[in-house]
Symmetry: C2
Subunit: 254 residues, 2 copies
């Protein structure tokens, strides 16, 4: 088959973070498929077909894209951040694994992007400077018991933890439950970063001690980074925002 499907990471919502490689993939596509706001980020041009959908039909969107590629199209499936991190790439491969055997002959590529935790971390310092875990807090695709067990394991082993999909109107209590689990073993002063819409005009970033964090401060577009016991604030003069970082050293002095 001659078609091509590329899952393209758009990075945080600012073209300054889009890699040249991802830009080229978009420029050579015949069809753009994705969640409406992501499709809107791709400039119009003659002959480019745009297929926007809502955010909750990832497998359908993956199958539709594979079908287009199988017919010979050059399809770009657009994804925020990095497509391989709680985004569209896994959905595309799930569809291949469970779908039309002919799809296995397709050329399927993934263009990496700056995922939300990296963009958020960069805005405040280096909170991911030590070992860290990235988890989706959604219990739509796995049971809450799995989320809870993983979070307890990560906290007990003193990883920094980045939480994707922390809250939504359909999942209102999970983030509060997660903060409670963390507070069982980490101190009330543990730095927590809530970063919303990094790089966009409506960006909002807060750094708070664990004891002062409220779930109402987060929404669907927020990434939450919870410090390890070693994560530190660097206070700055003249009312400047503090830096937050996790030293590379652990239980040893530099």
């Amino acid at each position: 088959m001659t078609g091509l499907l590329t899952v393209v990471g758009l990075g945080p919502g600012n073209p300054r973070f889009l890699t040249p490689s991802a830009s080229e993939a978009l420029a050579s596509a015949t069809d753009i498929v994705g969640y409406g706001p992501y499709v809107d980020r791709v400039p119009e041009r003659p002959g480019l077909r745009r297929h926007a959908s809502d955010n909750r039909v990832e497998l359908d969107r993956a199958r539709f894209s594979l079908d287009l590629a199988a017919k010979g199209a050059r399809v770009a499936v657009v994804s925020g951040g990095d497509p391989g991190v709680f985004a569209m790439a896994a959905a595309v491969f799930e569809a291949v694994d469970n779908g039309d055997p002919a799809w296995r002959s397709l050329d399927i590529r993934v263009e990496p992007g700056i995922t939300a935790m990296l963009a958020a971390a960069a805005r405040v310092g280096a909170p991911l400077g030590g070992d860290f875990c990235a988890m989706s807090l959604s219990d739509n695709l796995k049971q809450w018991e799995v989320v809870e067990a993983r979070l307890r394991a990560a906290v007990a082993a003193d990883f920094v933890v980045a939480l994707y999909n922390p809250i939504s109107s359909a999942r209102p209590w999970q983030l509060g439950a997660a903060f409670k689990i963390v507070a069982e073993t980490r101190g009330p002063g543990t730095p927590v970063i809530l970063a919303r819409a990094v790089g966009r005009p409506d960006e909002g970033i807060r750094i708070l001690p664990l004891a002062e964090v409220e779930t109402a401060m987060a929404d669907m577009s927020t990434i939450v980074i919870i410090g390890a016991t070693t994560t530190r604030l660097i206070e700055r003069p003249d009312g400047e925002e503090s830096y937050v970082y996790t030293p590379r050293f652990y239980g040893m002095r530099p």
Copy 2:
């Protein structure tokens, strides 16, 4: 103070992965500081001062850069991948935290980049499609007992695990020890990805079952990704390389 220090993520070793934002930071710098091969990636231009060092003096390099910035320079500290992930950003903030109080007034920025695990994952499919941990296997900065405890926790909770700094001539046995720990609970068929120099001419990528992995297949430039129990291979016709991915679903059917 008017100086500026930006820690710039160069991504994997190919300018196609360098973000426009990082390119601008390099273009507006007066001084480039970093490990020689990274400094070499920045094009020469008149008036640009280049300060290359070896790879083992991160704190000294950080202090030197802060000192330059405090004198009014626009310094770009270059780092492979993302500077916040086992790279230079944490070293810079450690130096600020423990150094000249005047450094706290400096404008210090971090330009995120495509870190090795994202680039490697994109090359083979979507192995980071579920929850995952990123760990440095180096015991230069933390004790081996800490590394081992974290790895055991991550494996027990069925995270995908990305191992940075897996092996070096000074640390020859740690990767083998890590594979043994993983093999205590994960099956011999668990997919392991060894990705070396992604995006560079000397790129080398292997996907192997855990039982067939040998530490000699990795070196300092390799990132190792160990699948979860749910990570799957998609075999392809005509001798094409398999895709590898971790479904978003866990213990539930799509």
